[in-house]
Symmetry: C2
Subunit: 341 residues, 2 copies
């Protein structure tokens, strides 16, 4: 019998859930508003409701589900399944999401950060299908990232790997929320693009965005205006794409991936953004990697999070079952050998 | 019986060879000058001579050797064992080092780029012992690098991973030999430091290097002068360390390693270089990775190359034997699954 998994995308605004089988097919979906201001207990209840809703849509029962994955903003501890805190989820402090959800829906639940979930979704069933080495940039409120090495999610020593948005792009550059200066996020996020377009429009420049309220000007509006012929918006996206391409060149020279995926509303601008990005990458990365690596838009859009959360739950459940069967845990590399020079 | 391996470090100036057992102990060593200007055929002959010399020093015969590893400057194709060309080895064009050496010494020989060999040496038997996630910066003529992920050398899709010296540090910055602008190498290599100290000394600044001929001023001289009290040299190394620390922060935020190893003559300056490097990393990397990652000097110095070349030969010989035993080669990830949204 096919194995089925639940994937949940816990966002600051929306909760999405889907039931996905081991081949990656979506069998049922559900969504609701997060209503984050009601606090963690209320949101956890809605997580369980939306999960059950997706299971029902799929014509299944929770007893048909092998495992559940929740992609959440962080910082979080994926091993322990705990959201440590989150700027977009008021009142969240050390919330034991995996444990609470495991109890509420009686399905083993795993927690992942949202960028890794979306990245794994694109790797498994989206733009990264067939690759073994991939990086993804998620251009949103910030810039998220995910690194796939040798077909596996690269978590790093402290689950801190993949923060491509906090690579340093400009030494002593713009101040970032993380405390550093010059992070990629300050030049390439939807927020950074929106802020620049808002300021230019307020100053009376010919941005093509004059019909919108200032607060309505977001990166998607900039993309649409660029596609509709706004020179200002096209130039802003070209500049953003060039910055992104320099950041991508660094990732290519360090990781040598097959594919670089760009995710988020801005990617709708297509070559207006990705053309300058590809050119800047080519100017800054080494040959032959720069000729062979592909920079492409994401394919799954808002589905990437639920697909990836389910896919990672599949991986982790398999690993947990394998570990339960193994006679002894695999030990860390032996550091006690005595050979010295 | 213990398994023994030959490691060779093919440099533009010197050839070093060592016999190393599977526990990493050095059993015998030999070295000679490369005399690179005599061309590839002559250098290949000397490679075989120095390899046999190390075997003799170890009191062994080549029939006691399981495999041989050669660390070489590149670009090269490690799989095929071919040096494509090399700026430091005149006349080298598509030289089939692995094949020629296998024939000459009758021991299966593998080729690696020199930065990976030195990095693997430090990982296996030096500063990285006991780690599973490591990066190394080799501050020499250029800046080399090596990335270890999950206890394995990370080669990337086209064997182009690990070029940490070509991460982009300063957009539109100094022109690099690779064709890009702003590479780490242009700010942190021994060459960059020497050039700056030479220029300052020529201009009559109080560098503490006035007793040397301009051509004698190298990064090691700058380190020694800084340790002897030269304010100019200390400030130059502090600036270099700060640049390196910003580059390291990017690597930490992408890879989250346990340990960052700094290799090369400049590392002799110790905290004069590494203190500002650690501070800049801490200012630019995310918590908790920045608190936990260690930035340390290499331990094996010029032995790292031969140790790592032997260690990688060990890994590759084991992989070759395992592949020969396996009934079928492991296929690439199946990209033909039909599920689509």
């Amino acid at each position: 019998m096919a194995k089925n998994f639940i994937g949940i995308d816990l966002g600051g605004t929306n909760l999405r859930a889907a039931v996905i089988n081991e081949a990656g097919a979506i069998l049922g979906q559900a969504r609701t508003e997060t209503m984050a201001k009601e606090g963690p207990a209320a949101v956890l209840k809605r997580l369980a409701i939306v999960a059950r809703g997706a299971v029902e849509e799929a014509g299944l029962d929770t007893t048909d589900i092998v495992a559940c994955g929740v992609g959440s903003p962080g910082p979080l501890d994926a091993d322990e399944g705990v959201v440590l805190f989150s700027p977009n989820l008021p009142g969240w402090q050390d919330v034991r999401v995996a444990e609470e959800m495991t109890r509420a829906i009686d399905v083993p639940t795993y927690l992942e950060n949202d960028a890794n979930a979306a990245g794994w979704g694109e790797f498994w069933m989206g733009a990264g299908r067939g690759a073994t080495e991939m990086v993804i940039y998620t251009l949103g409120t910030g810039v998220g990232g995910c690194v796939i090495v040798d077909g596996k999610l690269h978590r790093g020593r402290d689950q801190m790997a993949g923060h491509l948005g906090h690579a340093i792009l400009v030494p002593d550059g713009r101040r970032c929320n993380c405390g550093a200066r010059g992070c990629v996020e300050q030049y390439c996020s939807a927020t950074a693009v929106a802020r620049e377009a808002q300021t230019a429009t307020e100053r009376g420049l010919d941005t093509g965005l004059e019909d919108l309220k200032i607060s309505e000007i977001d990166a998607r509006a900039v993309s649409e205006a660029a596609l509709a012929g706004s020179e200002y918006c096209a130039e802003l996206l070209a500049r953003t794409g060039r910055y992104l391409g320099i950041a991508v060149a660094t990732a290519v020279n360090i990781l040598d991936p097959q594919i670089v995926v760009v995710y988020g509303g801005m990617a709708a601008a297509g070559d207006i953004l990705l053309g300058p990005c590809r050119r800047a990458m080519h100017e800054h990365a080494l040959s032959p990697a720069r000729e062979r690596v592909k920079i492409v838009s994401a394919e799954l859009d808002e589905k990437a999070g639920v697909v990836g959360a389910a896919g990672l739950a599949l991986m982790r459940q398999e690993a947990a079952e394998a570990a339960a069967k193994a006679p002894e845990p695999v030990s860390e590399r032996d550091a006690s050998a005595e050979t010295r020079y």
